[in-house]
Symmetry: C3
Subunit: 343 residues, 3 copies
C-alpha cells in the first residue's frame, strides 16, 4: 500500500484550522506528540502533555489557540484539536478497502436484494428477503439471516452474526463476533422447570451506531430492542431484550444491561458497569467504572458504587467490618444516647 | 410469510385455559396488554399491570381467576397465565424454519453420521466421527469438530464453535458466538513461566439446555465440565473447566464461574455475578446481581454483595471511609470501653 | 483413535522424576488421584489431597519427595509434581491432529504466503500479503485479514477473527470467537455527537501466548497494543487499545482492561477484575477476584476491593449503612472529642 502524502494546506482546509507555518510541508503519517517524527502530524488536546511541545519533532501539531505560542514547529490552530485529529486520522488509516461485489464463495439467497455497490466477503451468508443497501461491506464468514435490512454504508466485520428480522441503519459499524438479534432470556417457571418464551420482537439499530467486538444485543420478547442514532457500544457489552438506548449514548466495554431498561440520550456508561432490568436512566447521566445500578436515575449527574482497591491484608479486615456495618452503626447510636444521658 | 391465525377455542385448548368469550374469535398476533390491538392476544401475570385491563383493546387476555372479573374483553383464565403466554408465544414466532438437508457449501466429514432429517447450514463444518441426530439444525458457518454428539432436536445458531468430543443432549439451543469445549485455563508455574496443562476432559451438556450468545463453556482438565438437564444460560457467561451446574438452574448474563465450582439444582444467579473456584453452592440458592461469591453456600436462600450506586460526590467520601473501616470499628470499641470504665 | 500406552520408565525419563516401582508398568490414561484406576497415571501436588494416597488405585503417582513414603503404589518422585503432570498431560490429549495443507474450501488470497507445512481449515479465509509460517494450524471458518503474520507453530481454533496488520508470534494458541485487532473505542465529542477516530495502530502478540475463547484485543489508536511473550489470557477478557501486558502475566476470565494501561511482568489478575485506563501496574502484582483497580500500583503485592457475599437480608442493612459511612465516621469523631473534653 502506498504511503499517503498530504500538505499542511490540505489538512488545514479539511479540518478548518488556521495554519501557522509552511503550507507546502508534506505529512506522511500521524502520531502522538511524543513519538511524532519530522514527517508526522501530531496533536495536543490534553493539557497534561503541553510540555511535550518543547521537544516536538513533528511536521506540525494540531492544537488550541492557547498552546500555539509554545509550539516550536508548524501549528494547525483550532478550538477543538481533538476533533481535528479525529477528522484527519482517517486519511492515514491503512485498512484495506473492500473491492465490492459478491465473492464467489459467498452464499446469497436468491430472494435477497443486494445493491451492486455492496461488497459481500468470502463465505459470507445472506438470508432470504434480506436487503443489503448501497456501499455496504459484509466481512468474511459473516451471517445475515432472513428478513434483515442493512442500511447504506454500513460495515460488518468478519464473523458477525445477525439474526432474522434485524433492522440496521446507515453507516453502522459492527465488529467481529458481535451477535445481533439472538433470543432474549425469557422463561416461565412451571413445576421447577423453565418453559421457553418465544422471542418475537426484533433488534432495531439507528444510523451511525458502532458495535464492538463480542457485543450481544438480544431481540425483543414482544416489542423491539432499540439502539438509537449515534450510539457507540464498545466490546463485550450485553444488551438484553427490550432495552432502549437513547441517541449518542456511549457505553464502554463489558457493561451488562438487563431486560427492558431504558437508557437516555448522551449518557456515558463506564466499563464493566451492570444495570439491572426495568430501570429508566435519564439523559446526560454519567456512570463510573464498575458501578452496579439498581435503581432508576431521574437526574443528570455522575453516579458510582463499589469500593476502591487496597492491599489485600487491609482489605480482608475492612470486609469483615463491612459485614458488621449495621451493627457498628447501632453501637454508635447507643453510645451517643448514653453519652447524651450522662451529660 | 403468512400471518398466523388461531381461534380462541384453539388457544384455550392448547394452554388448558377456561375461555370466557367467543370461541371463534380470531387472533393474529401476541402483544403486551398495553400495546395489544383487536386482533392480538395479550396476557396479564404481573399485578403491577392490572390497571391496563381497564383500557384493554386485545382480542383476549390470558389471566388468572382473580383478574377475570375486571377484564372487559374475552378472557382465557388459568392459574399460571405467564405459562400460558410462554406456551402459545411459539405459535406467533416468525423465525424462518430450516428446510433440512445438508447445504451444498457445508463441509461434512465422510465419517460423520448425520441424520437425514437434520439441517446443516451454509458453510457449516462437521468433523470426523461426529453424530448429528434427527431434526438437529446447525446454523450457517457453525463448526462442530470431531467426535461430538448433537442430540435430536437441538438447534445451533450461526457461528457457534463446538470443540472435539463435546456431548450435547436433546432439544438444546445454542446461540451465535457461543464456544463449547475450548481449553480450560490450566498452567503449571516453572521458573517464572507457565507450562500448559493439556485439557483432556470434555463438555457434557444435558437435555433442554439453552446457551446464550457469546457464552463460553471450557472442557474439563481431566474429568468433564457438566451442564445438567434444563439449565438455562444467558449471554456472555463464562463457565470454567470442571464446573458442574445442576438441573434447571438459570444463570443471567455475564456471570463468571471459576474452575471446579459445583452449583446446585434450581439456583437462580443474577447478572454479572462472579463465583470463584472450587466452591459448592447448594440447591435452590438465589444470588443477586453483581455478587462476588467467595465461599461455598450450604443453605438455600438469597445472597448478595456489593454496594449500591450513589451520586459520585457522596460515593467518593464513603469509599475513603471504607478503607478506614477496620480503624473506625476499633475506635468505636475503644470509646465503648472508656465510656464503660467511666460509669 | 488408539489408546496411548507408555511405561513408567518412559514417563520418568520424560519428566525427570525418580521412579520407585516397576519401570515396565503400562499407563494408558491420566486422572486425578481420587479417580485414577490401575492403568492411570495420577499426581499429588496439593497437600489437601494427601489422604487420597491411602486408597490410591493408580498405576503410579507423580509426587514430591515428602509424600513418597505414604504412597502405596508406584511413585514418580520430583520436586514439582504439578509440572510433571503438566508435561506428561499432553501425551494423553485426544485432540485430533490436523493433517496439514490448505482445505479445498479455504479462501487464500494469491498474495498470501502460506508455508506448505501449515494447515488451513475448511472455509478459513486468509487475506492479502498475510504470512502463515510453518506448522501453523488455522481452524475452520477462521478469518485472518490482510497484512498479518502468524508465527510458526501457532494454532488458531475455529471461528477466530484476526484483523489486518496483526502480528502474532510463535507457538501462540488462540481459541474460538476471540477477536484480535478490532477498532479501539475512540471518539471525539462534537456538538453532542461522537466523531470516530481511525484506529491506525496494530496488535502485536509475542511468543508462547494463549488467548481464551471470546477474548477481544483491540488494535492501537496510533501506537500498538502489545501482549508480551508468555502471557496467558483466559476467556472473555477485554483488552482495550494501546494496553501493554508484560511477559508471563496471567489473567483469568472476564477481566476488563481499559485503554493505555500498562501491566507489568509476572502479574496474576484474578477473574472479573476491572482495570481502568491509563494506569501502570508494577511487575509481580497479584489482584484478587472482582477487584476494581482505579489507581496505578507501584509495588508488588496482593490487592483487592469489593465486599464479600452475605445473606441478602443482612446485606440490605449493611448497604444502607455504607451510604451513610462518611456520616457515621463524623459522628464517631464528634463523640470522641466530646468524651475527651469531658474527662
Amino acid at each position: 500500500m502506498n504511503q499517503p502524502e498530504y500538505t499542511l494546506q490540505q489538512i488545514a482546509e479539511a479540518i478548518d484550522a488556521q495554519l501557522i507555518g509552511d503550507p507546502n510541508r508534506i505529512v506522511r503519517g500521524i502520531q502522538t506528540l511524543e513519538k511524532a517524527g519530522p514527517s508526522d502530524l501530531a496533536f495536543l488536546s490534553n493539557p497534561l502533555y503541553q510540555a511535550q511541545l518543547d521537544n516536538a519533532q513533528a511536521a506540525a501539531v494540531i492544537l488550541s489557540p492557547s498552546d500555539a505560542e509554545r509550539c516550536s514547529v508548524d501549528a494547525l490552530v483550532m478550538d477543538n484539536p481533538y476533533l481535528g485529529y479525529a477528522q484527519v486520522s482517517h486519511w492515514f488509516d491503512r485498512k484495506p478497502e473492500s473491492t465490492g461485489g459478491v465473492h464467489t464463495s459467498a452464499i446469497v439467497d436468491p430472494t435477497a436484494d443486494v445493491n451492486p455497490s455492496a461488497a459481500i466477503g468470502p463465505n459470507a451468508v445472506i438470508g432470504a428477503n434480506t436487503t443489503i443497501e448501497k456501499d455496504v461491506v459484509i466481512g468474511a464468514n459473516t451471517v445475515v439471516e432472513a428478513d434483515c435490512r442493512i442500511g447504506s454504508g454500513s460495515q460488518l466485520a468478519a464473523n458477525v452474526s445477525v439474526y432474522h428480522e434485524s433492522i440496521i441503519g446507515e453507516r453502522v459499524i459492527i465488529h467481529s463476533a458481535a451477535v445481533i438479534g439472538a433470543d432474549g432470556f425469557g422463561f416461565a417457571p412451571n413445576r421447577q422447570q423453565w418453559v421457553k418464551i418465544a422471542q418475537i420482537g426484533r433488534v432495531v439499530i439507528g444510523d451511525d451506531v458502532e458495535i464492538g467486538a463480542g457485543t450481544t444485543i438480544d431481540r425483543g420478547a414482544l416489542g423491539d430492542t432499540c439502539i438509537a442514532d449515534g450510539v457507540k457500544l464498545d466490546n463485550q457489552i450485553q444488551v438484553a431484550h427490550n432495552v432502549e438506548i437513547g441517541e449518542n449514548t456511549a457505553i464502554a466495554g463489558c457493561v451488562a444491561i438487563a431486560g427492558s431498561t431504558k437508557i437516555g440520550r448522551r449518557c456515558a456508561i463506564a466499563g464493566a458497569s451492570n444495570i439491572v432490568g426495568h430501570l429508566t436512566i435519564a439523559d446526560d447521566v454519567q456512570v463510573m467504572a464498575n458501578t452496579l445500578v439498581t435503581k432508576s436515575i431521574s437526574s443528570p449527574g455522575v453516579y458510582a458504587s463499589g469500593t476502591g482497591m487496597m492491599p489485600h491484608r487491609k482489605w480482608k479486615r475492612n470486609v469483615v467490618r463491612f459485614r458488621q456495618l449495621d451493627q457498628l452503626a447501632s453501637r454508635l447510636s447507643v453510645l451517643e444516647k448514653q453519652f447524651k444521658n450522662d451529660e
